[in-house]
Homo-oligomer: 200 residues x 2
């Protein structure tokens, strides 16, 4: 595995994996379409590791008393206790594991940039480009992507078949909008092809 | 204990406890003056609990690889590994315990407001006033206090003998500056007196 070359080529790139937690993928409030992308998210992470692309895990871990949930969604949280900090539902789905050199960041809002140190972290570590996958397309994925454009990241890509929404229509409509502002929207296979020459 | 009255009176108030971790208080890079305030910080937390004042613990838990430390302090971190996430040094000092209704927040910079959801959290939970203690006065305490003023909190108090710096002179000079901008700077005893009537 030509990690040397890969590491050099991809040192400014991060793979962001968003909210791939049990409650959101297979729990009672799961995102329909979430389960089908799990194999592709696993594969995207594997490819990233092979290339030396830095993997950043972004998750929600909500205060058990709901005090850090958005005010207008607090009632919903009180009923569901979704992704409650320390609960099984807040864990990553089976097959996804945070490794030693990865980085984990907890967010409390849709976009991973609001009230977190994500931008500071990426900027200080030389990340100018990133690729995103996870759930769900119209909320956390899209809001994070739009913020990234506003924050002057050079390249932002969304892997279309490693992201998901409640319905295919919602997913497609949001991918369409992101593509329209200049975001690159490859399938996993297309993204793989772009990394292939750096993996042996 | 008249928690009902206290809870009502103090429901808009939080006690912020800053960086009271082993590495900063008793470790090799400790803040001189930190150890002497531990009993007062413990007492302040006890009083807060009796009054129904919400206790918010703010700590640093630095990425073991140092990737979320300020760039200009990263070299320092590489040598000291201070407050490394998961290490004993990152734990609170003995005598301070996070209880179930408290809230813990991890910051990566001096001020507890930069790149965190502290302001969102306090705002959404009706906190307009707060009292701060911990270490150290010129850095995390002062920067958090100045930001609080800018962010339009109504009342901000610094407990002068439950905060500490490397030297008494530095501590005093910083308390002086904060007092000059309108921050209330009681001793623990003075702060206790203001809460006394709500505790029985």
């Amino acid at each position: 595995m030509a990690l040397e070359d890969g590491g050099s080529k991809w040192k400014n790139v991060a793979l962001l994996v968003i909210d791939m937690q049990k409650d959101f993928i297979s729990g009672p409030v799961k995102v329909k379409g979430g389960e089908t992308i799990v194999p592709n998210v696993i594969k995207a992470v594997q490819i990233a590791r092979k290339c030396g692309i830095h993997v950043v895990w972004v998750v929600r871990e909500i205060d058990p008393l709901g005090r850090d949930v958005e005010l207008f969604r607090r009632q919903f949280y009180d009923k569901t206790k979704v992704a409650s900090k320390g609960s099984v539902g807040a864990e990553l789905v089976d097959g996804l594991i945070i490794e030693e050199n990865d980085y984990k960041l907890v967010k409390t809002r849709f976009t991973a940039f609001l009230n977190t140190h994500l931008h500071s972290y990426l900027h200080a570590n030389g990340i100018t480009d990133w690729v995103i996958n996870g759930v769900q397309t119209p909320n956390c994925i899209r809001q994070t992507v739009f913020d990234a454009v506003s924050l002057d990241y050079k390249h932002v890509s969304v892997i279309t078949d490693a992201t998901a929404a409640a319905t295919p229509d919602v997913h497609t409509a949001n991918i369409f909008d992101m593509k329209n502002i200049g975001v690159v929207t490859p399938t996993l296979e297309e993204w793989c092809q772009s990394t292939e020459k750096f993996i042996s």
